[in-house]
Symmetry: C2
Subunit: 581 residues, 2 copies
């Protein structure tokens, strides 16, 4: 070993010991007679001391050590006169006997500090330098710890991790696949898995009744801040269970992680039906750290001669408590917010419930004080509150109000990052109508089972059928979801029919699974969690890039290694491929 | 839960309890008045009893349950009169109250028994049925346990698991890459990693001084029994270490796995230089469960007028103890063995050391009894032994004799599957000459460092340069290997020059790594173990397919899901690809 200790472990109990440390020069201070170097490694920082009086040569050498040089430092542990209470090694320093440069360093393109001066693109290009910074290092350590604890939880309750293949088969349902040309099978392609869904179901057919896997998945989608072409999933499946068994098992995982990682004891997670989430929060992933529930005003405010309201499917609002004193400018900002294309409302109606009990609204022409009072009562509003109301078709209006609700949560600073409010959203619709393809699509995926009591309306009213499907939501972030699966060939065949597959297409794409259902498939269900998102949530990060060692940028490029890249003509020829100009 | 207990847990202490079991019908016996069903799940088998006298309807229902039906069985635990000592639940049975078919099963295409009548291809097609069999189930459980224990070992000594990307960059050195066309970057490709080599080195540059990962790797090679296009690696890297630190750390992992998985305490692993392994065993992965070391006879047997010997670079043999009584037929079989194309020898010379002290050999015309006695002495042979000698060029002769040595080990049954003999083979050559490309290739990979004392001959005699490279070998199986890496830009550049890269090629392919070496790269080294092989070794399996849940066949196909497959014209168009006819 090129070290006897790390840079994070020496304490006053080590005083007098001869030690060898190896690490990076964090910074260097030359005070004339003395030179101090902060030596850094993964474990911490230790101060090295070079004395001009006792060893001028060594001190001169030390003065030449630049930032990020890798050195091996040999010396004796001494007590510091000027103790640094901010770091665990702050009580000691090392009086240097010798130092060896293991590797010099050019000046880094940005500072390796908690707050860096490097821009996004530069830090991506030199990711190996960015990863030296404490915030990213903490994220990597958190990710490791969460993976270890996830496996520990599952192992202790009898789940086994089974690796499913990465070179699988392209299927048309769902997002776009990444494909991999096969050299040995000319003109044919593998696909990288969007999830191990069918394989984990086959493992249930094979009798492995408690399966999990931390596994990479791949989707060739256009990217956003919280999307990456490759991402990691905690993938799970169980047999001989009903929905409550599944929820309880994975709620147990979440509670375990809350406890060991965040040191938080959380209550049992509430279950909220999808319809309720949509009605009261306008979202299937409500942030429950704050209330601000939707209140619908159709009964109170329609048919009173205000055309905007009268022509709307839905009138719905929220109560921004204590905001009656918002200025014109603030209200205009909220109107601008809801009118942004990504929010999509046409306008915003406000009602100020003044401290004196009077009302001031943007619809005073149409509604008198008494009418506005009935609204305020519907919201349980108090003097000082501000009602914000949208009108329009149901789905877009709910969506826009949900965005406004979250925006108000930010403005009012009531989204406490240290509070965690998990819940299960349950009873999702099985299907959703797609206008482009003029057919139903599976809301989760085609393997989700309908609720038994809704099977009778599968043909007559497919859009109304509820699924045995559920999502885990924490603080408005969808951590994962799952369902009780279909395990019956006929039902699976029916589902493919509803989704517009011909029998031939269903058989050629998913025949292996439907065949498997004929050989004793047990009832089963499971869940898949987005591991990157979960780590990001626990690490207080907005983007999953911050918790991935080597992420890609929004164009799907790894700018560090400069990939993707062209490949040689020989490679293309071997694969029998050519690139269209 | 559709069960209160598993089929493996009920004991006499449960007698009288009302229980619900769910599982598969393993077999059914109809004894007239009574029907017995063996119900199976992952945990074991429990006997269900149906009585015609007490419940005729239920008994008649039970008689209709075919093999592999999935049922839910409710009843009361009772003591068995006729106990089965072969299974843990053999003291009890369940007197049935009711039974429900959860899913029927068609007759499986092969029997779900420890020994099955299913052929390889059929079992691959119905892998989900094959996985129900105990031998495969045990392999999956072993794999899970080894993965858990590997992570436990690393976690306890401060290693962190960091996920490296799967969509990386194609590089020409090494085996053939699988590539992935990029839709967002037209005409460009990602490659799937053959190993995370460069990324783990960048993690060392980033200061994560103890890294590991259980990770899928991909190689587009023609397949053999122990090769798969995707395989799993235990990938590791450490900083601030020399070779002995690395060997000791990972020897610790191996000892941990031997202890917790195989319940075996193994001695410290011997270190054997590559040259010695080749000289005495003709292989860089010698099986040390038996001795049978090579003895060279050049001094004793060349220049005596036997042309075959005189023209050979190397005369070398082994002593098959106690085999002097081999018949003509047996000796002919050995000659046929060494002449097989995959062994490649031209012929085999034998010397029988008869019990009476006389010698009988296939070269009696050229060598008298006294001469043969000097050979026998060189082998430390006793009366009753058989010397087997090959002649020819050094490398092919050693290879052929190594094959013969292993064959004799099998014939003599001295390769005890319950004995484990690990060793480190060290001091590998840095380079090997390739006649096809007329240049040196890296024996491990281009990032392996030369031994410091051999750097001076890098230009003058590159083939003689030894590397800081090592392999872990157990019972003749290469479990893994690694090296101390180059961490200096100039040395890395030099290595690429020796391997025939232009500076431009080196920079375009590996510039990111060489650039990283300029920003304070620490000395580092590591190892990668073939996880599939290790599991196969511990599970007593010849082929890694037996320890992979969903393997591919020798044509790289998954015959269960029928992949690879053609993709749609739309997919090809989106990727700007066309297939050459």
């Amino acid at each position: 070993m090129l070290r006897t200790h790390t840079c994070g472990e020496l304490r006053t109990s080590n005083i007098g010991a001869n030690v060898t440390l190896s690490g990076w020069v964090q910074k260097s201070r030359d005070l004339g007679g003395m030179t101090f170097i902060d030596l850094r490694d993964r474990y911490g920082i230790t101060q090295l001391v070079f004395n001009m009086d006792t060893n001028a040569d060594l001190c001169n050498e030390a003065r030449k050590l630049g930032r990020e040089f890798v050195i091996q430092a040999i010396g004796k542990v001494a007590e510091r006169s000027n103790k640094n209470k901010n770091i665990p090694t702050g009580d000691i320093e090392i009086i240097m006997d010798s130092v060896q440069v293991l590797n010099p360093s050019k000046l880094p393109p940005f500072t390796i500090e908690n707050e860096t001066d490097g821009g996004e693109e530069l830090r991506m290009k030199y990711r190996y330098l960015d990863l030296r910074r404490n915030p990213l290092k903490e994220n990597m350590l958190l990710r490791h710890r969460m993976a270890i604890e996830t496996r520990k939880y599952f192992d202790e309750i009898g789940f086994i991790e089974i690796e499913t293949p990465y070179l699988i088969k392209s299927t048309p349902e769902g997002a776009r696949d990444f494909v991999v040309p096969s050299r040995m099978n000319e003109g044919e392609f593998y696909a990288l898995p969007q999830s191990p869904q069918t394989f984990k179901q086959l493992l249930m057919v094979a009798g492995y009744d408690k399966y999990y896997q931390l596994v990479k998945c791949f989707r060739d989608e256009d990217l956003r801040a919280d999307r990456q072409p490759e991402f990691t999933q905690i993938d799970c499946e169980m047999s001989f269970v009903d929905q409550e068994d599944v929820l309880n098992t994975f709620e147990g995982l979440a509670k375990h992680l809350f406890k060991v990682i965040k040191n938080v004891e959380v209550d049992d997670f509430p279950r909220m039906p999808y319809d309720e989430a949509m009605k009261y929060y306008g979202s299937d992933k409500p942030d429950l750290r704050f209330e601000m529930k939707f209140v619908e005003l159709n009964e109170l405010a329609k048919g009173k001669g205000f055309m905007v309201f009268d022509s709307a499917e839905l009138l719905v609002g929220i109560n921004a408590e204590g905001c009656a004193d918002y200025s014109r400018k603030q209200l205009d900002a909220l109107t601008d917010f809801v009118r942004r294309p990504q929010v999509g409302a046409k306008g915003l109606v406000y009602v100020k419930y003044n401290e004196d009990g009077s009302f001031k609204s943007s619809v005073d022409k149409f509604f008198d004080q008494a009418a506005l009072k009935t609204w305020a009562d519907a919201f349980n509003a108090k003097p000082g509150d501000l009602l914000l109301i949208l009108a329009g078709d149901v789905a877009p209006t709910r969506f826009a109000l949900s965005s406004l609700r979250l925006e108000m949560g930010d403005r009012l600073e009531i989204k406490d990052p240290n509070v965690f409010k998990p819940l299960w959203v349950v009873d999702f619709p099985l299907l959703e109508w797609n206008d482009d393809s003029q057919r139903y699509h599976a809301m989760h995926h085609p393997f989700t089972s309908p609720k038994l009591e809704d099977v009778t309306i599968l043909d007559s009213d497919p859009g109304k059928v509820r699924a045995n499907a559920y999502d885990l939501v924490i603080n408005g972030v969808e951590i994962g979801g799952g369902s009780i699966r279909i395990h019956n060939r006929e039902m699976q065949k029916k589902m493919f029919q509803i989704l517009g597959f011909t029998d031939e297409e269903a058989q050629s794409q998913f025949g292996f699974l439907m065949n498997a259902f004929e050989f004793g498939a047990p009832p089963h269900g499971g869940v898949a969690f987005g591991f990157d998102r979960w780590v990001a949530l626990f690490g207080g990060q907005e983007s999953i890039r911050e918790v991935i060692a080597f992420p890609k940028n929004n164009a799907g490029r790894d700018v560090m290694i400069d990939s993707p890249s062209v490949i040689s003509k020989d490679q293309l020829d071997e694969l029998k491929l050519s690139i269209k100009k």
